[in-house]
Amino acid sequence: MKALVFIVSRLYRDRSAFLGALIILALVVVALAAPLLVSHPDAAWAMNPQVRLRPPGGEFLFGTDRMGGDIYARVIYGARITLTIAVVAVGVSLLIGVPVGLVAGFYGHWLGEVLMRVSDIFLAVPQIVLAIAIALTLGPSIENVILALSLTYWPWFTRLVYAETQSLKNEVFIEAAMALGVPPWRIIVTHILPNVASPIIVRTSIGMGFTILTAAALGFLGLGAPPPAPEWGRMISESREHLPDAWWYALAPGLAIFLVVMGFNLLGDGLRDILDPRIRRAQHGRG
């Protein structure tokens, strides 16, 4: 609790991190309140070929798409998809990556070696390439995008947690706990995990942004949520055929991606400054 108050108050002081937090808050609000923000519940899915490719203004705030769908409504509902993908994919990555990193980093024997080798393999190839392969293997759907992103993102957490755990392992207070006879699992859970929490939180925030970008790229390449899902990346991809005349087509979804990713990055940066143990340690000094 104390930590939370601390974070919030520090965030408030860091203008750009605060902006990031606001953007993300806005995203969450938009996602939750989507039905309240559009004229009727089906607005994001309705198709009226008669009014296709209308420029912004009047009835359609952001214009209409190639099927006559309301881009405004679609962008609003797209927030739900984006948020779901980001939260679930990063969440699953956390659930895989953190324990693996903890175990590999703390025990460090052959099991750790093997686990790290496996994650190295995942890191050796660009995430999007593997994600494309997996998404394609499983077929395009939101669930599969999430799965593809989770399967390819967890090594990032593993790497991070592994490195942090390894250096924490040499910290005096961990050594001291070992010397006190505290069992390893207890050390991992009560000492190491809370102490790697900060970098994990930072990574999570940045990872959200990164995941949203990758998910959008998959959508753009036609591997994301199938139509007519109002997925931002897909909307941008659709727009390409209609450029330059329908210049507005890609504008709103692109800006949405940009803002949201920026929000997560700003927040992540801010949290890094606030939570980074090095910075904190320097602030508190030796005594």
């Binding site: 005096v172 001291a176 010397a179 102490n195």
Partner: protein
Amino acid sequence: MPLDERHAGDAAALLRVRGLARHFPIRNALGLRRGSVKALDDVSFDVRPGETLGVVGESGCGKSTLGKTLAGIHRPTAGSVLFEDAEIAPLQGAARRVVARRLQYVHQDPGASLDPRWTIRRSLHEPLIVHSGLSEAEREQRVRGILREVGLPPDRLDSYPHELSGGQQRRVGLARILTLQPRLVVLDEPTSGLDVSVQATVLKLFRSLQRQFNLTYIFISHDLAVVRMMCDRVAVMYLGRIVELGPTDAIFKDPRHPYTRSLLAAIPRIGGPRVTDGFVLEGEPPSPGKLPSGCRFRTRCPNAAPQCAEADPPGRTVAEGRVAACHFA
């Protein structure tokens, strides 16, 4: 016939260390083993109940390695450690952790041994949770008692380590270990980095706690003045070896090993003439990864003779209760 130190010893010893060694592998860029650092090499000594055994030596000579190996943080490469008449060197895992209760290691900066994210209370409860079946209330009572002993007000229980001063952190660190009521405590450079005035306070605390809890100390330090004041006996280490061991007074008055002599000569003596105007030990210790042949000290030794390059002198009893590892001691 010289007495073989390996098999003799004090029958009443609390801790009996024989031929203890700890080597660290040196790896090259590919992670392949290239050699090893003999941080601790064939070390033998006894610790009697209730005494304070000082361990001195230059940086990197293996003092901390000795302490950590005894405390089970490092696994010994070779040798035996009898603690309370039980062999603990080969123990591992849970069996070793049981011993931890009675044989504790205090890091150079006990403040650093506190998890920065935990309140003092939580840190103090932890060893009791692990080692005792006490209820929360009983633990709290024990913790408060100990806290009083180390001279900290109980309102500090809800603080975080960074909210305490260095001296206070050390007190908490000690309190944490004392909750387990250990017999033997290894104090690794317990005053380094402290100002003299704080150092005095801390040393005083060690003394009173020793009396109070009937503790036995292994007191590691590079500060000879402190060792002289605190310890009953002193072991002088050089490059992983104990080169001289004996009662403090005897060693300080009449050092037998040339290294001990040089070391003592280098300590400034306040109020007297400048020691540096007199004798100064030349050169620097070689790397523990590349030990010289024969006696390890011969590269800097003022008395080095050809035989020193050939044979590594074993520890010999040179006087009542005194051992030195020098051909000429």
